[in-house]
Symmetry: C2
Subunit: 245 residues, 2 copies
């Protein structure tokens, strides 16, 4: 559901440092979020916000500046406030992962707002009370204070994973070796190791099974088998040439 | 396994801006990571690093400065390089969540290094080749460039969740109302609504079932039932007093 991410509003309340607004915009863009709402920012627009947005200026340019949390959340079907501190009157409290899943599940019904407080003290109790759900980041109890842009980054990441999964690019795979190619490699190896007198065929011990185990885990490709057989063939040649005088 | 987090080394390679080193240290501390290794930082120590570490100066003070990735990874049983870009010769490629799980699973056997490249270009192919595993952050393909401290924040978060789960503080719960208290509330409500002439007992329609459904979802507490019955009792009084002249 990529369109689910278009339903997400990131709401920053009374942010003091414009650099944090820029960094939050950058964090949003890395995860495909676009809708930023600023409630009474101290300074905005500001060159420091633009500098730290680093390529995510479209998010900043589209940012909506409003005068209250209620205005920021108008029309939202779900409002989620971020808080590190436990609060006495919190309703539903979820870790960010579960909050992201709940938000994406609600997205077909309308917009969802995620509300972040000030750098120093987060959201006040009254502000948090506007949010039916509290999301919290599992953090070090001795030092739970994430930078506001870092908190936006984590929340946006969890929203993206909830909406789209966490599939990433995969390592390139070349043509796999076939069973018979691999068996021919083992036979060649056995022969060469014996010719090298590294293996005593009458007392092979665990050498061959250990090598088989290693190559089994490596999931050999056709070209890799060719390289290894090339090395073996070169050793065979050296042995055939006999010891140097 | 909290001790698993002590096995994690965060390795920053050739970081240009000391502020990013500070922000990375802060990100580490929020997630309970302590071991920072800097490979050829351009400027360190530096007042900007200290400023952005914001309380995580112990992580900075304990940082080890080394001259190569191999030195940074010495003794590690698993080396994980972070990369946004697909690479042709990557071995195992995992999303950060799976990489965190793999690292925590390996922690009983020794140290694990997570390697982050420069701000501009990330890790080179040669640097990434030192890492048996590549971890990648699922991000917006059009703009995947996370700030290095933001990448450290996400990785550290996933490591913490992998090691300790994502249990967070829970909303406080007060004594729940009992079945009979709730039934008494409904009976009282029915009576008062009828006295108010909001409900016609001969044609109740769907009013009472709708109210029952609402209160069922709310999972009422004893004190909440008392508050609601107090409101009903006050309405009863107003009705008993009769209309004003």
């Amino acid at each position: 559901m990529p369109e689910a991410l278009d339903r997400i509003r990131i709401v920053l309340v009374a942010t003091s440092h414009p650099g944090n607004i820029g960094a939050a915009a950058r964090a949003m863009r890395t995860m495909g979020l676009t809708r930023l709402v600023l409630v009474n920012p101290r300074k905005f627009p500001d060159p420091e916000a633009t500098a730290l947005a680093s390529g995510a200026t479209a998010v900043l340019d589209g940012a909506q500046v409003v005068g209250s949390i209620d205005e920021a959340l108008e029309g939202c079907v779900l409002a989620v406030g971020l808080s590190a501190r436990p609060r006495e009157f919190a309703g539903r409290v979820l870790p960010v992962r579960a909050a992201a899943a709940a938000a994406i599940a609600s997205a077909p019904r309308g917009d969802i707002g995620f509300v972040f407080g000030t750098e120093i003290s987060g959201l006040s109790n009254a502000e948090l009370a506007r949010c039916g759900t509290v999301a919290t980041i599992p953090a070090n109890a001795d030092y739970a204070s994430l930078n506001v842009a870092a908190a936006v980054q984590l929340m946006a990441y969890e929203l993206r994973v909830a909406a789209l999964g966490d599939a990433v690019w995969t390592a390139p795979r070349f043509a796999p070796a076939t069973h018979d190619e691999i068996e021919a490699l083992h036979a060649h190896g056995r022969q060469t190791l014996a010719a090298m007198r590294f293996l005593d065929p009458r007392r092979p011990k665990r050498l061959l099974p250990r090598l088989r185990r290693l190559f089994a885990r490596a999931d050999l490709e056709k070209e890799e088998v060719n390289i290894l057989r090339g090395i073996l063939a070169r050793i065979d040649e050296l042995i055939a040439r006999g010891p140097r005088r």
